[in-house]
């Protein structure tokens, strides 16, 4: 279990998804699944495959992410021989400031990439939650002799936003023949998850060349020309659940999908592939005399005295007496008073809902409350 690859994570959303949830934090730091942040899944997948060095590129609003990931200790990445490195933007004599594209990020952090002797590099965005065996991806990559292996999910897009989800055309041998922006709603298609495996040397060389040629976009300037010129770019279908974050409505839908046994099994119950996260030393969940909880995911440190149905309850949440929370996501440290009704709500971190408030959205249009808000 020692995958000879470097991990490189883009913690920002390049596509501007999840507007509300990423107002104060980067995409990787979005809370998900009652006790995790989105990036936990990706870091855990990498570490489970034996990846020992991971770089996290992020351009802004990264305090929440840094606070969560810290030194990488939860994943044993604060070691002499395995390390997690934050790669924030920095100013230098020949320019500085920040960047907007993935290829620019790689150009920016070229020196970081050159530090390593790993043969391969796995680069990935943070738009999805999955439990992926990256060793299998590497095996597939080696066997196929691909120059790049691009990971995809067979899925529908639920809502066409201004963001661009990329759809591949996959040949019978698994080769990617063509690409386009996904357009068709509610039909299962091979959709990119923005994760790629390739040789590290190759990436460094391509990145250097792209700098000379003044190119910026990973997909437009690097991936697409390769596909078009007939280079061997293979598609690897990620099996099992892949929860892709498009917008707030899919965030809620993905969250509630965790109540499905198969989804939970695919994410959490894979032997030898645990999803790790930062620990809080919370007490166990405490249920009051009149608590009623049905079909829900309940984190530790919660105190539940009311009723919870089809919901995701994060660490340290309190739900008061005679309150009913349905089809909702309540993030960490939020307090719901007595006699409250919530339906299809996404409540961000540390909000307070005072007694007897009634708040409701709909599955396609969740009611949202921002960090630290009080109603």
């Amino acid at each position: 279990m020692n995958m000879n690859a470097l991990g490189f994570i883009f913690a920002d959303s390049v596509d501007g998804a999840l507007n509300e949830l990423t107002e104060k934090r980067t995409l990787g730091a979005v809370p998900f699944g009652a006790r995790y942040r989105v990036i936990d899944f990706l870091i855990s997948n990498m570490v489970n495959a034996g990846i020992r060095n991971i770089g996290i590129a992020t351009t802004g609003k990264y305090d929440s992410l840094m606070h969560h990931v810290r030194s990488g200790a939860p994943w044993d990445l604060d070691r002499k021989r395995s390390r997690l490195t934050f790669l924030p933007p920095y100013a230098s004599f020949n320019g500085g400031g920040t960047y907007e594209n993935r290829l620019e990020a790689l150009q920016y952090h070229l020196q970081y990439l050159k530090n390593f002797s790993e043969e391969y590099v796995l680069i990935s965005g943070c738009n999805y939650v999955a439990n992926i065996d990256f060793e299998k991806v590497l095996e597939f990559h080696k066997e196929s002799g691909a120059r790049i292996t691009a990971l995809y999910r067979n899925s529908k897009i639920h809502r066409q936003q201004e963001l661009t989800v990329m759809e591949y055309k996959i040949g019978e041998d698994g080769r990617i023949l063509d690409h386009r922006n996904a357009e068709i709603l509610d039909e299962v298609r091979p959709l990119s998850i923005n994760a790629y495996l390739m040789k590290l040397d190759d990436l460094i060389e391509i990145t250097e060349r792209s700098m000379r040629e003044g190119k910026h976009s990973f997909r437009r300037d690097l991936l697409f020309p390769m596909i078009e010129s007939g280079e061997k770019v293979m598609g690897y279908e990620v099996p099992g659940a892949v929860l892709y974050m498009d917008d707030l409505a899919t965030y809620l839908k993905n969250s509630l999908d965790l109540l499905n046994k198969d989804v939970r099994a695919s994410l959490f119950h894979v032997d030898g592939f645990p999803i790790l996260t930062n620990v809080k030393d919370s007490a166990p969940a405490r249920y009051g005399d009149k608590a009623k909880v049905v079909n829900s995911l309940i984190a530790d440190g919660t105190i539940i005295e009311g009723e919870v149905r089809n919901s995701i309850i994060f660490r340290g949440v309190r739900i008061g007496k005679d309150s009913v929370v349905e089809n909702s996501v309540i993030m960490q440290e939020s307090t719901i008073g007595d006699g409250v009704r919530l339906n299809y709500a996404v409540l961000d971190k540390n909000v307070i809902v005072q007694d007897c408030r009634m708040l409701s959205g709909y599955i396609t249009h969740p009611f949202y409350m921002g960090v630290n808000e009080v109603i």
Binding site: G33, H269, P284, Y287, D289, V293, V294
Partner: protein
């Protein structure tokens, strides 16, 4: 001061805890699970860090494998330090012979070198079998103010229970006049909690004296403290008024677990200012299913619960199938309770499997606690009566 410590704690964790059998059949008592996610030893260790004590020697002897694994280098309690931190101190061989720890005092005596490394002014002696949240810094302040040689933490117990404890008789300033171990006719209700602060020089003096006495039982309660009293040393009590329970027996262990339940629990574990730290096992959040009904309980992580739980402490990775019921019980990690099985007034150690329709225990009113040992399999339809202690698999019917 970066090259010495003001106070070092020595935690006695070597006892067998035979009255907690079968929970302690294959593991040491301090590492017995407690409160849905903790181990007993998390309480004194967390008290130490929360009190500002960062150097602890843990004396191990009985069945130390799981305990050593659990403690590691003290990371969960922030005790993996360059200077100080948590150190496991097992019995050892020396040039002049080797010995098991003969008694509590002898265990500390054998580790005087460890204490001296830190050159502390004070030594705190703790044991690994009590559940409590206590600020040792307050006790130390009193010790210093009294210019005491030894301060003993005491708790006020009901008079009728006083004869189960070591009882301190003091003057009105808290100076100890007399110490009686389990007196038939107690003169006071101040029971020793087994928490002592010694000034280091006095401690070492009396440990050495005690070691030289071949008739001594090398015990703090029986030898060291009476000897210091005999010599008129300055010994004071520190009255502790918070929650404290000796969990030395199965019923007291059960009762203390139950104290963490309810809307206003006696044992308040959600206190952000006095966290109990523990080693994490990384499970997903608990899933509560369509048919679940959980009331008046605490419940850990990684669980898949579709049955009924009332007035119980449920640990991690528990599967409770539809129609199964748990009442008035402690269910330790990794248990599986299948459809229609009933568990009432019972303790299930880790990894127990209760098959369909089996019945374990009975109403609490019977006063008889049923206990199922580690990894025991109770077959479908089998019955475990109240008061039974089961350590071997039981066939179904």
């Amino acid at each position: 001061m970066i090259n010495r410590k003001k106070i070092v704690a020595m935690l006695l964790a070597g006892g067998q805890g035979s009255r907690l059998a079968p929970l302690t059949n294959s593991t040491a008592k301090p590492v017995v699970p407690f409160g849905g996610r903790y181990r007993i030893i998390d309480f004194p260790l967390s008290n130490c860090v929360n009190s500002g004590i960062d150097t602890v020697g843990v004396l191990t002897q009985y069945q130390p494998l799981e305990l050593n694994d659990y403690l590691g280098i003290g990371t969960p309690w922030d005790m993996d330090l360059r200077f100080g931190g948590l150190h496991v101190l097992p019995p050892y061989q020396a040039a002049t012979g080797s010995d098991w720890f003969k008694g509590t005092a002898n265990a500390i005596y054998q580790n005087i070198k460890f204490i001296k490394q830190y050159d502390p002014e004070y030594v705190l002696i703790l044991s690994g079998d009590h559940i409590y949240k206590m600020d040792y810094a307050i006790m130390l302040d009193e010790h210093i103010k009294n210019q005491a040689d030894c301060t003993l933490a005491v708790i006020d117990v009901p008079l009728e229970e006083a004869s189960r404890f070591g009882i301190m008789n003091t003057d009105d300033k808290g100076r100890v006049l007399e110490f009686e171990e389990k007196p038939k006719h107690p003169k006071s209700t101040q029971a020793s909690m087994g928490v002592y602060i010694f000034s280091t020089a006095a401690l070492i003096h009396y440990l050495e004296e005690d070691e030289a006495d071949p008739t001594s039982q090398n015990d703090f309660g029986k030898n060291i403290i009476p000897n210091m009293l005999r010599d008129g040393k300055r010994m004071y009590t520190h009255l502790f008024k918070g929650y404290w329970r000796d969990v030395g027996t199965l019923t007291s262990y059960w009762a203390s677990n139950m104290d963490s339940l309810g809307d206003m629990p006696e044992l308040w574990l959600n206190d952000p200012d006095w966290k109990i730290y523990y080693r994490h096992s990384f499970n997903h959040p608990q899933y509560v299913g369509e048919h679940a009904d959980i009331t008046h309980s605490v419940c850990g992580e990684g669980n898949e619960i579709d049955g009924k739980i009332d007035h119980s402490v449920v640990f991690n990775n528990i599967v409770l199938e539809e129609g199964a019921e748990i009442k008035d019980s402690v269910i330790i990690s990794g248990c599986k309770i299948k459809k229609g099985a009933k568990v009432e007034y019972a303790i299930l150690d880790s990894g127990v499997v209760i098959d369909e329709g089996a019945v374990v225990g009975g109403p609490k009113e019977s006063g008889q606690l049923a206990v199922i040992g580690r990894n025991v399999h109770i077959g479908a339809g089998a019955v475990v009566k109240p008061g039974e202690s089961v350590t071997e698999d039981r066939e179904g019917v």
